[in-house]
């Protein structure tokens, strides 16, 4: 019975857990409850992935209403993979959250904090699981609204303005998405993704369809912080509580990339992409995003802010991969979704550990801290190498696929951008290494001790995963290839 309802349980379990958490007494109880739920979901998502790994799909009808009338959950390798990323990162963030949340959130707010965290988790899982575009919008708003709350719970007062700015931008994005869905619904009379695909094919040249597509793409681009709509992201990630920086940076933008893949390739089609030359726009925005965001990262003197800018650059790589519109390109995107979650999760965890000990992530306060926190620094170093794309780390695999995709199409300029982007990431990561390790410690700062074990263990789990998935690429690449095949993307040929 569990197996046939698996895809539904993944959404319903945290949905039930959220109100229960809100009623629990403040303290460690809500944390422990949330921890149990996220690990349960993690196990279920692994199970789900093993079912669809061979290229099969699961279809679930909510309320017994057959699609296209009712809401359908339609799971293939891509959905299951994104669900695995979200629940995996949540499961690994929760042990980390215990100490940092006690440090940053008032005790009486803890049960509400974890309840909102679970709601955000439900939203992200729901986006990944659903096969209905309007249901997707609702889940997107659940996750967005709860992430505004979570960001606004940061310690500094600027967390409030960051959350407000994100709320305005995010709501505009969501409303654009709503307009797009409305226009496409007016044209086809259906909301089911598979059904939309069927009905849209004969009318791909209608102007309403084009307008709807534009609204959808702009709306999602706002959510995934695609250049030039990325301005909300750095402050939001910088001022959020540490655990939330980790969770959102590793999952929220990835899920938005997934939505983009779904809408562009499943709802519309790769042919539509080529007719409208949207691929060219993706390539341009991706390339500019990589260059602008990486350059932006260099001019900041704050670990969390640098990492946030780097996130924008990495998301731009993923959009670049979609722009190639070939098997290799989109495979690179899907692989990078996973790998980026690993490396950015580890990096933000390390930054959060420094914030826990020092109370700041600005360079002027943390010079030379790497010598006093060797394990944290080593984690930043290895995850940083992965971000740059050194062979032997997960980051190398995704960069390699991006490069292959560019060379396959003889897009020399784009290949150059990818290389140059890596070079820029060497510069900004080196700035962090230098500040943490080689710079002379300032006399004013008192000696600090290494981060507690409850922070180091999750951090190092992710760091080791970075190395493991850099050597053993079977899982990531095979899942990505299955997913890409099911999206209807073919290999590039001239």
């Amino acid at each position: 019975m569990i197996e046939q309802n698996l895809c539904l349980l993944l959404v319903v379990i945290p949905l039930i857990a959220a109100p229960v958490t809100a009623m629990l007494p403040a303290g460690r109880t809500p944390w422990f409850f949330t921890l149990t739920i996220t690990w349960l979901c993690f196990v279920l998502s692994i199970w789900q992935l093993t079912i669809v790994l061979d290229g099969s799909t699961i279809s679930y009808e909510l309320g017994g209403w057959a699609p296209p009338w009712g809401i359908e959950y339609h799971i293939d390798a891509l959905n299951a993979f994104v669900t695995l990323i979200v629940s995996g990162i949540a499961a690994i963030t929760l042990p980390y959250a215990l100490r940092t949340v006690e440090n940053e959130i008032q005790r009486r707010d803890t049960s509400l904090f974890y309840a909102v965290f679970l709601l955000c988790f439900v939203g992200l899982l729901g986006i990944a699981q659903t096969g209905d575009v309007f249901n997707l919008f609702v889940f997107l708003e659940i996750s967005s609204l709860s992430s505004y709350v979570l960001i606004g719970m940061g310690q500094r007062r600027r967390a409030l303005t960051a959350a407000y700015q994100y709320l305005i931008m995010g709501s505009i994005g969501a409303t654009f998405l709503l307009i797009g869905i409305g226009l496409i619904y007016a044209e086809t009379g259906t909301l089911n993704m598979q059904d939309l695909h069927q009905r849209l094919q004969p009318i791909l040249d209608h102007r309403t369809v084009h307008t709807g597509f534009i609204f959808l793409v702009v709306g999602i681009a706002l959510k995934l912080a695609l250049f030039p709509l990325h301005l909300w992201l750095p402050n939001a990630y910088k001022y959020a509580p540490s655990a939330i920086s980790v969770f959102l940076s590793a999952t929220a933008t990835k899920v938005a990339v997934y939505v983009m893949l779904r809408i562009v390739f499943t709802v519309f089609s790769i042919d539509f992409l080529k007719i409208t030359s949207t691929e060219f726009i993706f390539l341009m925005l991706g390339a500019f995003g990589v260059l602008v965001a990486s350059t932006g990262a260099i001019f900041h003197y704050d670990i969390k802010r640098i990492l946030a800018y780097s996130s924008i650059a990495q998301v731009s790589y993923m959009v670049l991969g979609m722009g190639f519109a070939s098997t290799l390109g989109v495979t690179a995107t899907v692989v990078h979704m996973f790998n980026h979650a690993l490396m950015k999760g580890a990096l933000f965890m390390a930054a959060g550990a420094i914030v826990l000990r020092i109370g700041s992530s600005k360079f002027e306060n943390i010079y030379g801290i790497g010598r006093q926190m060797p394990w944290t620094f080593a984690a930043i170093f290895i995850a940083g190498l992965s971000l740059i794309g050194i062979p032997g780390t997960a980051g190398f695999i995704s960069k390699w696929y991006f490069m292959l995709a560019a060379l396959e199409q003889q897009a020399w300029l784009i290949a150059l951008v990818i290389l140059f982007g890596s070079l820029l990431s060497v510069v900004y990561m080196w700035k962090i290494f230098e500040a943490l390790f080689f710079h002379r410690p300032t006399n004013t700062s008192p000696p600090v001790s290494e981060a507690p074990l409850s922070l180091l263990l999750p951090m190092w789990t992710l760091v080791l995963a970075n190395i493991y998935f850099g050597i053993n690429t079977d899982l990531t690449v095979s899942v990505a290839e299955t997913a890409v095949r099911l999206l209807g993307i073919t290999a590039y040929h001239e």
Binding site: N5, L8, I16, P19, V20, M23, L62, G63
Partner: protein
């Protein structure tokens, strides 16, 4: 507004009427326009009107914030529990047909319980929002 006799008088008699209308909208929702969302908002409006005329203190005696939080969570749980019940009875999530021998009767029962959960949550949440914006004693 403590000394405005007309307002106090009217509010006192309007309150049950509004509450009754909310219940009508709630439980007639399967045959006519209505349902949990609308009923929840109407019911909370009755309380908000009362609080505006008689003051927050008298309102808090009836509905303390802690109770409202519990109610808001309970509504969601009623909704989810209905879904889980249909799962356990062997159907799909929220498949009301299975709740009774007759599918149509099952649909009636199902939508009634679901909308009740929605109504409880919506009215509790609207009142929590009202509390959050009016009760500023702790801050100013």
């Amino acid at each position: 507004m403590k000394h405005n006799l007309v307002l106090r008088f009217i509010t006192k008699y309007l309150f049950p009427v509004i509450a009754l209308f909310a219940l009508y909208v709630q439980f007639h929702g399967d045959y006519g326009p209505g349902g949990g969302f609308q009923a929840g908002v109407i019911l909370s409006v009755a309380f908000i009107l009362y609080a505006m005329v008689f003051g927050m203190e008298s309102m808090e005696k009836v509905l303390p914030l802690g109770l409202l939080r519990t109610l808001a969570s309970t509504g969601v749980l009623i909704y989810a529990a209905t879904g889980v019940t249909t799962l356990l009875m062997g159907g799909n999530f929220l498949d009301y047909d299975i709740l009774s021998q007759l599918p149509i009767q099952g649909q009636h029962i199902g939508i009634m319980i679901i909308e009740l959960g929605v109504g409880i949550t919506v009215s509790a949440v609207m009142l929590i929002i009202f509390y959050a914006f009016t009760d500023r004693r702790n801050y100013d």
